[in-house]
Amino acid sequence: MTAVNPGAPRRAQSAPDRTFLLVLIFLVTSALLLVSHNGDLLENLGGLGAVLRNPIVEAVIVSLFLANVLFAYLWRAAAWAKALVGLGSLLLVLPWAGQEDTSLLDLSIQIMIFAALALGLNIVVGLAGLLDLGYVAFFAVGAYTWGIFASPRFAEILRYYGENPGGTNALTLALGLFLTAITAASMIYIRRLQRSARPTRASSWSFGLASFGLVAGLLLTGRALLVLNASRAAGLGAGIDPSFFWLFLALSVLSAAVVGVLIGLPVLRLKGDYLAIITLGLGEVIRVLANNLDLYSAGSQGITPIGSASVPWFDRLAGTLGFQPDQYYLLFLYVLVLVLVAVILLVNVRLDRSRIGRAWIAIRDDEVAAQAMGVPLVQTKLIAFATGASFAGAMGMIFAAKQTFVSPESFNIFQSIGVLSMVILGGMGSFPGVILGAAVVTLLNLRILPGLGEATANLGIPQQVNPGQLQRLIFGVILVTMMLLRPEGLLPNKRRALELHHDDNQEDDSAQGTGPALTAGGGDVFSPGYATEQEDEHAGTTGRGTP
């Protein structure tokens, strides 16, 4: 337990200053990336060009380049060098190389989408300790929220309701609005009543009844709105005006959060594996609904084409920077997702150090003790669920805009498991860790394994064992060996790493399986606040270089 003592002196030898090395590696890998993604230049290079064009070499160059950002975070170096490498890589070199090879932009957006998803799931699993196997459902909610409205699908829906109005008129709309208002008001009233007096059976029943009324009112209003606007279907052939993008970004976040609360409310009373299987099931429910509600989601064939935002000044800027018109939207999404990931990271760090973050960690470590200390369990868990879901909602929308296509296939259970493995590979509870995990897994799945398959296609390897076909096997082997050798993840959260390692000398409790959770609550003198502060120091510009 001595290692846990915060007062103990740090390791005597600090990491050497690597400013020079960092800048050197940045320059070399940037040059390599720019050359290897410039078609004209490769033509002139002859033999070397052919080597650089090899899919494996290309994947390695991309990985090395992205490793720059990691080095800038990890190594001890001058602040200006860190800033140069970080900002230069993401804002200058990547878009520049992406200009020649759009797939690079696409890949970076994908990595950042998964990074944001992993950050969201990290809150649910890593901080609050709720095992959620249906996380991708919220991603789907965001994607479909934008996908339906920014595609010809919306016109189809309006046309359908125009043909089947079912006696709807302005009065129905008024009735729907009235019902919504009345039930919402009575729900608020009952809530307030319950807060002052003990909730009785009658009050909770009437609350449930009112919530049913609210749903009915909303459905009625929505239907009436659709029917009354059906005549506009002709003008909406390509979906709604793209300038609604920002409104829908907020709506996606909101709807994903609402779905998170709706799913969370009934199931959060369950624990551990019961919660896992239920979330898995509800995730599947959303996928099956997307697969079967043909009118709204176009079923298994998916919705396409989905528009992106229209930002004229950004397009002009991209034009002057030498981008092609068909690349504008990708560049825009790249910048947008970069900003969003930064915001999400900021929100995460702030939340983690806040009262609610400490409540999450308390619940994860020992639910009973946390409850005894006055942490409201359901409310705190719901906030974790809704926060994680809202990040996924925003990313789902960007995913839909990037792919210009959504179908239920993108939201199956394997995506959820993939995001979970990113969180755990990177290091649960550690923000830089989960981003690294997302980058590693995405690169592996989208570049390295397919690259291996392509490169070995002509070597006469039987088709069954071609590396391109072995993605599951390789991914599985990586997961298993990683868990066996380094269960705390690539960039572990310090506190969690201690939990995982100090049970070596605590055999009595740890032998029972519930060991770490018990010991973590017991003799640990490490307060959560202290842990996060330390981690933040580490992320600062003077980074100590002790991964």
Binding site: V125, L131, P266, V267, R269, L270, G272, D273, Y274, A276, I277, I278, L280, G281, L282, E284, V285, V288, L289, N291, N292, V368, A369, A372, I413, I417, L420, S421, I424, M428, P462, Q463, Q464, V465, Q469, L470, R472, L473, F475, G476, V477, I478, L479, V480, M483, L484, P487, E499, L500, D503, D508, S510, A511, Q512, G513, G515, P516, A517
Partner: protein, 337 residues
């Protein structure tokens, strides 16, 4: 459809659901036994059970030209599948779970997912080298025919069933018989033998069991062996019931079986069986809601098809867990601080 034809129809749907439920129940037992001892969702169990199905396929394929009795072929297939799946499960535990015995629960869970991905591809490669992907079972002569097609052989039972209006295939009857037999053996093993006693002791408290002279590691291996063997049996039964199996087809029944285990109260053996039967029946009933929808004149019900079966299973699970958070037969454990 009037009432006179509807009643036998419903009875047949329910009986068909029970047949399906027995397959789920036996798979669910594999999950619940491992969970009972290690508190681990063994995601790899769905692949263990597909391995059993593949072994069963190979046995039936190799023995197909052989003129021996169909029931003997089935016995050989079952035994071979039990041995292979059981040993595979023990191997998985040895390599992937035992080193992580003291790690937090999520770590072995991820390992289990990794193992399941590895096994899927290994199965695909093994069968792929022989140019096969979808494995179609070649059942022994007569297994697909109706139960008691020949009046003479089993007049009593067959006639009794036919009077009630139940129409079963021979393989369904075999399936139920094998399931009941393996349940009886498992029940004897767990509740009546020293081995079962030791396993239950380890499940209850590993450390105290160790103090009483029980080798926990051996008992956990034994549990995985039994769970794997059950997986092998269910694999063969699944293959017989559905006809085709491929390397990836373990996922769906695996999820439903795990749902069944949770539904019944995970860790409880009778609970797993009950959960499996309930889910099987519900799934079959949802599969024919269009018939009921047509009867009741509800148009929306008609568009509900088989793809809603899994949704139905999960909704039932959510409802039951809301009111009884430990499952149908689960015991609520009192939290000690």
């Amino acid at each position: 459809m009037d009432l006179a034809t509807l009643l036998p129809f419903v009875v047949n749907v329910i009986v068909g659901g029970l047949v399906l439920g027995f397959v789920y129940a036996i798979i669910a037992l594999g999950y619940t036994m491992v969970y009972g001892v290690l508190q681990l969702i063994n995601f790899a169990h769905s692949e263990v059970f597909v391995t059993g199905a593949v072994v069963g396929f190979e046995v039936f394929r190799v023995l197909a030209p052989n003129p021996i009795n169909g029931y003997l072929k089935l016995l050989i297939a079952l035994v071979a599948a039990m041995i292979v799946s059981g040993l595979l499960n023990v191997l998985i535990e040895r390599l992937a779970y035992r080193p992580l015995r003291n790690a937090p629960k999520l770590v072995p869970l991820i390992t289990a997912i990794g193992v399941s991905l590895i096994l899927q591809d290994v199965l695909r490669i093994i069968e792929g080298f022989q140019g096969r992907f979808d494995l179609t079972y070649t059942l022994p002569q007569g297994f697909s025919g109706r139960f008691c097609a020949a009046q003479s052989s089993c007049a009593g039972l067959g006639n009794a069933l036919r009077t009630i209006g139940i129409d079963l295939q021979l393989k369904d009857v075999i399936l139920i018989a094998v399931s009941l037999l393996s349940l009886a053996v498992l029940n004897y093993l767990v509740n009546r033998t020293r081995l079962g006693k030791a396993i239950r002791a380890v499940a209850q408290d590993r450390v105290t069991a160790g103090l009483m002279g029980i080798d926990a590691n051996r008992m956990i291996s034994a549990t995985f062996l039994i769970g794997g063997a059950l997986g092998g049996i269910s694999g063969v039964l699944f293959g017989m019931k559905f006809g085709t199996v491929n390397a990836y087809s373990g996922f769906d029944p695996g999820i439903i079986a795990f749902t069944a285990a949770v539904l019944g109260g995970i860790g409880s053996i009778p609970g797993a069986v009950l959960g499996g039967l309930v889910l099987g029946v519900i799934q079959n009933l949802i599969g024919v809601t269009n018939v009921f929808g047509g009867l009741l004149g509800v148009a929306n019900l008609e568009s509900i098809d088989a793809s809603y079966q899994r949704i139905g299973a999960f909704i039932v699970l959510v409802l039951i867990l809301i009111f009884k958070p430990t499952g149908l037969l689960g015991k609520s454990n009192v939290e000690k601080v």
